[in-house]
Every structure is written in C-alpha cells, then in structure tokens.
Symmetry: C2
Subunit: 237 residues, 2 copies
Amino acid sequence: VEESLKPVFILIRPQLGENIGAVARVMKNFGLYDLRIVSPRDGWPNKAAQSMAVGAIDIIEQAKIFDCLPEAIEDINTIYASTARKRDLNKQVVCSHDIASELSNGAGKIAILFGPENSGLSNEDLTRSNKIITIPVNQNFSSINIAQAAGIIAYEISQLYEDVSFVPNQASEIATFTELNNFFVYLERELEKNSFFQVPEKKPGMTNNIRSIFTRIDKLSSQEVRTLMGIIKSLTR
Amino acid sequence: VEESLKPVFILIRPQLGENIGAVARVMKNFGLYDLRIVSPRDGWPNKAAQSMAVGAIDIIEQAKIFDCLPEAIEDINTIYASTARKRDLNKQVVCSHDIASELSNGAGKIAILFGPENSGLSNEDLTRSNKIITIPVNQNFSSINIAQAAGIIAYEISQLYEDVSFVPNQASEIATFTELNNFFVYLERELEKNSFFQVPEKKPGMTNNIRSIFTRIDKLSSQEVRTLMGIIKSLTR
C-alpha cells in the first residue's frame, strides 16, 4: 500500500488532549500518520496531547485541524464511523476483526471517524459515513477508551502494510539432532551404569519417555545441550 | 471457557497509576477480570488507577498485589511474557494475531506478563515465562503504551469468549425485491414520458445501469424506497 493511501484517522470534537496524544502514539506504532481533528474542545495546540504522544510528536505537529467534518473529508473516498453502541441505522456494520480483509479489496482513500469521549458520533456524522466499524466488546461494559479503539483498529489495519511486521526471534544456534542425540546416548549410558533400568524389557519405553521430555523443549540451543551434558557429568563425578 | 480459566494479566513493577487504571478498563471491555500487580512503584491503593478505571473500578478493587512474580503465578500453568523489543532468547514467539487460536488448544490457566513502562520485563521475568507474545509494530517506533498492548491482547483473546460478541445492527425492514422493483418500474415509466431514453436500442442497457446503482445501496429499507418513490413523484408533479 502506498503511504498516501493509508487510512486517515479523524477525531471529531475530542475532549481530552491526553486521548489525542494517545491516539497519535498508537497510530505511529502501527504505521499510520495522517491525523485530522475536527473542532477539538480545548483548542489547538494542546500541551497534554503533545506530552502523551511522546515519540509520536511528529503526528501531533502534522495533524490538521478543521472546523467541521465536511472540510476534513474532502479528499476521502470511503468513510467508516467507529461506534461501540448499537445504532439503529441500516448501514453495513463491519467487525474490526474483518477490517483488514475488507480494506484489502480497495476502497480508495479511507477515513475512520472517532466521536467525542462523552457522546460518540452524532447522527449527522453517521449519515456522512459509508459504513460502520465496530469492535466486539463485553456487552455489560462497552465503554471503550477512544485511544484504545483507535489502537485496535490501527493494529488490525496494519496487517496490510509491510513496514509493520512480525519479527520472530533470531534463534541463536538451535541444537542439531546429532548434538541432542549425543546427549541422550551419554545420559542413557550413565543411567545404565547406575542401574536405572531395572527391568530390561522396560528400557526401550523408558528411554523413549526421557527423549520425549527433552525433545519438547522449544528451540533448545547447542549451548543448552552442552549445559545439560555438564549437569550429567557433574552428577556422576 | 469457564470464568476461572480466563487469562490473568500481571503487571510487573508498573510505574503510572493511570496505566494500571487503563489496563483494568480495557480488560473489562474484553471480559477479563483477574488483574494482579507485582510491586507497583507508587504503592497501593492508587488514586490515579481508580480514576482511570471508571466503570472498571471493580477490577481495581479486586486486583491482587504481590511482592514478587513467583507469588503471583503459583496457580498458573502457562506464562506468556509480552515484549515489544526483540529479545535474544530461544523461546517461542507467538504473534498477537495468533494468540486466540493458540489458546484454543488449551494450556490450563494462562498468565500474561507486562513489564514496567520504562524498561519492559527483566531477563529474570522472561526466564520464568514459557513463551513470548509480541504485537507486530512499526519497527521505527515500537514503543507501545502498556495499556494499549494489554488492550490489543485482551481484544484478541476475547474472540474465545461468548460474552464478548459481535452484535450486528438489527436491520429495520429491509426492502423486498418487489418493493424496489416497483420503484424501478415507476421510475422508468416516468423517464420514458420525459424522453430520457432517446435511442430505443440503448434503453435496456441504460435501465440496467440505473437499477445497478440502486441495488448497490446496502440494506435499503422499505421506508427509504418509499422516500425515493416520493422524490420521483415530487419531481414529475
């Protein structure tokens, strides 16, 4: 996805600067940069927003401020309204878990609207939206913080971008089969010496059980196999 | 899933009460209730935590406080350490997007550890964990707020619980094919009268195009079809 086609987050009449800053921070965590704010209650710039944004201060500094929603969406093709409460509107409701696959079909430049903390989006805001996006929450406590909602939606959308990616641990020298097998052979010889296998016909089953314990250790390293070997050597000294 | 088997969130040496409160709130949003706190920097109880929790004050009041991690995990079967930074450990790293399917296989009682805001989990904490859970973030700005991380993990896990569910809008009277078809027949007759179809052989294609526009309106209601009908009547009066 081209940077210019990444979704825009629009905060409508947000009340707390802290929440604006938290939205900016989590947007940047998930590779989003275009924050627009319609009629912030406490004016602009906002110290609390700057402070909460920490390393995402650039998102706050580049945020665009508008007097009303129509001005903020002039260049937008498809508008999603995020709502927690159920609304009686005949609009398609998209579950947050499905938003990445929905957006991967392409819908031009996307905006996602977030309403004020106390009241959510107005009916007028909802009328201007093409679809509704909802995060499934505990129906006995659905009051989700605006920055949490923005974070979850940004997190879901980020699956579409290559610059936000899952980095698995770079395993340092995972032990080979031979290294672990040498350990088993050594351990079993020592156990034999110490009469661990009292009933000969049970020996194959018992060695299998022992090998099964150690082969379930995920990503056992060569160094860790040497440590295990050292333990056995030490115990039999 | 039984309530008693729902995962436990453990905050280790958290610094800001605001973050503890925000974690409690988002846990409850996603149907989680067991919050444990190891050695909170500013002591306990914490006014800022209570204030940020709002409707999740019960989670704060029931939170259990411990001096050290081993006391907090006595009843836990499987421990996941949440980390944003890459760590050089030969532990399995589970991506947050996969955690629900991973937990659906069953691993007894689960705890998810969250480290202090400034430094993250210590190596000692990580050593006590069975696996690592990581949220894929922008590699140029991976500093995610602890309550945001807790929120995203709770959100993912909540897919396993029936009490947190997606509630689609209850559509009020979606129009039937016949209602919409009656509108099309009426509209086309009026257009015919007004010589809209100047080239007879193009009429079928043009009516198809018009019908295609209106059939793409998602969840068009009977009332809305009547409104459209009223518009045509008004324009031709």
